[in-house]
């Protein structure tokens, strides 16, 4: 029984990470119709910047948790302003190619500067501390990941549905041309959203780095998982991303427990099943 609980909590923690990465991805896709391949590269950069701050500049974990998302917001906004906007008129293939090229370059730069091997980020006591919960002893850090994801998700929902900024954002998603005519600075909104997605991804990278070691392949592995999340949840749907993250997180966690040989394939089987039953995803709109 306690074993099941442990795996359930593990699943929740991974679901939290997945949500942080896929929320930005699905938001950018819903709004700008750009599938951002460089999104997971931002996650990786978050982890590596955090490594640089903590291990190379001997800073604090909390400091990197504040600084890295800001830096990545800037990087994301600059990418949107100076690169993505240039190729927007050529259609989505060019945009995909551009973000793919950026992801490729970022991965190479990271390998060049930090080396092509896993790095350990030592953040001190918080990583190893445990707490008794529901009759078992569980690491605090994984609970922290889940809570952080819940807080970010709640804040996003509140902003999107309860504020004036949220109305502007949703208007830009719905009909960017009309929103533009009504006086919304749509390019600025897009730049902000792209930067925000990058910051969110970087935030996830900072908290994932110490737990799941920091290495150049981390971008691809989470990118594929995040893609499956937005296929299952439905494109551009934040609620879908929440549900699908939980599904995939728990599936991966229990897959290891129940079918160790099949665990890698389970996620894709779920994706194939969703594609057959409802190609637009569980919460996606029919195309």
């Amino acid at each position: 029984m306690s074993e099941i609980l442990v795996f359930f909590l593990h699943g929740l923690a991974y679901a939290g990470l997945l949500f942080l990465v896929s929320a930005g991805l699905t938001l950018v896709f819903g709004m700008m119709n750009v599938l951002n391949f460089a999104h997971a590269a931002m996650y990786m950069l978050g982890a590596y910047f955090s490594y640089a701050i903590i291990m190379q500049l001997s800073g604090q974990f909390w400091m990197s948790l504040m600084v890295c998302p800001l830096v990545l917001f800037l990087i994301g906004a600059l990418i949107e302003r100076y690169l993505l906007r240039r190729v927007h008129a050529y259609g989505h293939v060019q945009e995909l190619l551009l973000t793919f090229g950026l992801a490729y370059i970022i991965a190479e730069l990271v390998k060049w500067y930090w080396g092509n091997y896993p790095l350990a980020v030592n953040i001190g006591k918080i990583l190893v501390e445990t707490v008794p919960i529901f009759g078992i002893i569980y690491p605090v850090y994984r609970i922290f990941i889940f809570i952080a994801a819940v807080l970010v998700g709640t804040a996003m929902a509140l902003i999107l549905y309860k504020t004036r900024l949220g109305i502007v954002l949703r208007a830009a998603v719905n009909d960017s041309g009309m929103a533009s005519i009504l006086g919304v600075n749509v390019p600025l909104v897009f730049m902000g959203v792209f930067g925000f997605g990058a910051a969110l991804s970087g935030f996830a990278g900072v908290i994932a780095g110490p737990l799941l070691s920091t290495y150049p392949g981390m971008a691809t592995s989470i990118l594929v998982d995040a893609f499956v999340v937005i296929v299952v949840g439905g494109f551009g749907s934040l609620g879908g991303a929440v549900i699908a993250s939980l599904l995939i997180g728990e599936l991966q966690s229990f897959g290891v427990l129940l079918f160790p040989d099949l665990s890698v394939a389970l996620m894709y089987l779920l994706m194939a099943a969703v594609l057959i039953v409802k190609p637009s995803g569980l919460f996606g709109e029919e195309q």
């Binding site: 599938l35 893609f227 937005i230 890698v264």
Partner: protein, 338 residues
């Protein structure tokens, strides 16, 4: 009259290309012959990729899945069925990729645009995961090594142990594959693919089932990639995880196709030459060549979206513009000019 003249020139050019390639073993040292074999294999791989990207406008990140399945099936067939003729190994590989293409293609029938890209990457990741985990079959991280079977022609047996003989086999088989792809672009089905890219709704109005066309194209390009993958294994006598890795060989084929130019049929062939020669040269100079290639790629996306073939076509038109006005290698080339 003029059209006939141009067709003759084109056939002559293709024959000249084959003959000059056929003379290469006499001229080139063994190292370069190895490289040329690799270029030919990747040229076919890129040509098949371009049928999706350039002709149909579908950006796939899952082409390595076909290449890898072809490569692995060849190795597995040769290892587990001793005495297997080389043809059978290649045919088994192609058969396997056709099955993969049909199943995956059926699952992403309705996917278009970015959605297609995302799903192909996800399915490729599935195949990569299987290759990683199923170590008893694929060798996992260690890969699989094979000995190249000899070629039996019925009346005689040609040894495939030397690179020269294998080069000729590659040139003939892969050359035929490439010509067949070229032929495909001139068939009615090839035309359907182009029209589908330009205006799918109109195609549907005219009564075409675009889903079937897309599925067929997906299976066809997959099978061609499987042929390339099969020869990849035969050439290197080894297959490892990189052959099915969407971020390794999958990224390579995308770079080759894009650098060569996706708006013409022959662009990817030029791309394979340039990319593999550049890779061989740069990797002796610096360890950071993927970074250089990545930078070149991004700059080209920003400034020369038509790739090298666009540069060549533009140059040609600048100097011989009038003569070339009505001559186009394909409908895709037509667009490069407009």
């Amino acid at each position: 009259m003029k059209q006939k003249y141009i067709t003759l020139i084109r056939i002559f050019a293709i024959v000249a290309l084959f003959v000059s390639a056929g003379l290469m073993p006499l001229l080139l040292p063994q190292y370069n012959l190895n490289m040329l074999t690799e270029i030919i294999i990747f040229a076919l791989f890129a040509v098949s990729y371009n049928l999706l990207l350039g002709y149909a406008g579908l950006l796939s990140f899952g082409h390595a899945m076909f290449f890898g399945v072809g490569a692995y099936m060849t190795a597995i067939a040769i290892i587990h069925l001793p005495g297997l003729p080389i043809w059978s190994a290649v045919l088994i590989a192609i058969g396997a990729t056709i099955v993969v293409g049909a199943v995956i293609g059926a699952l992403l029938l309705r996917a278009k645009g970015a959605y297609f890209s995302l799903l192909t990457l996800a399915f490729n990741a599935l195949f990569y995961a299987i290759a990683t985990k199923w170590t008893s079959m694929t060798g996992g991280d260690d890969g699989l090594g094979i000995t190249r079977p000899d070629l039996s022609l019925g009346f005689t047996i040609v040894s495939m142990a030397t690179i020269t003989n294998f080069f000729y086999l590659t040139l003939i088989v892969i050359g035929m594959g490439t010509l067949f792809c070229w032929y495909f672009t001139h068939t009615a089905m090839g035309g359907t693919v182009l029209l589908m890219r330009e205006n799918e709704d109109r195609m549907k109005m005219l009564g075409y089932n675009t889903n079937i066309s897309r599925l067929f194209l997906f299976i066809f390009t997959g099978a061609v990639a499987g042929l390339a993958g099969s020869f990849y294994t035969l050439h290197f006598r080894f297959v490892s995880l990189s052959a099915i890795d969407p971020m390794d060989v999958g990224a390579t084929v995308l770079l080759i196709t894009f650098v060569g130019g996706m708006k013409t049929f022959w662009g990817p062939i030029v791309g394979a030459f340039v990319y593999i020669m550049l890779q061989n040269y740069l990797s002796t100079v610096t360890d950071r060549w993927p970074l250089l290639i990545g930078l070149v790629f991004v700059l080209m996306v920003l400034f020369i979206p038509g790739g090298l073939s666009e540069v060549i076509v533009n140059m040609y038109q600048r100097f011989f513009g009038r003569k070339d006005r009505n001559d186009s290698a394909s409908a895709a080339a037509e667009e490069a000019k407009s």
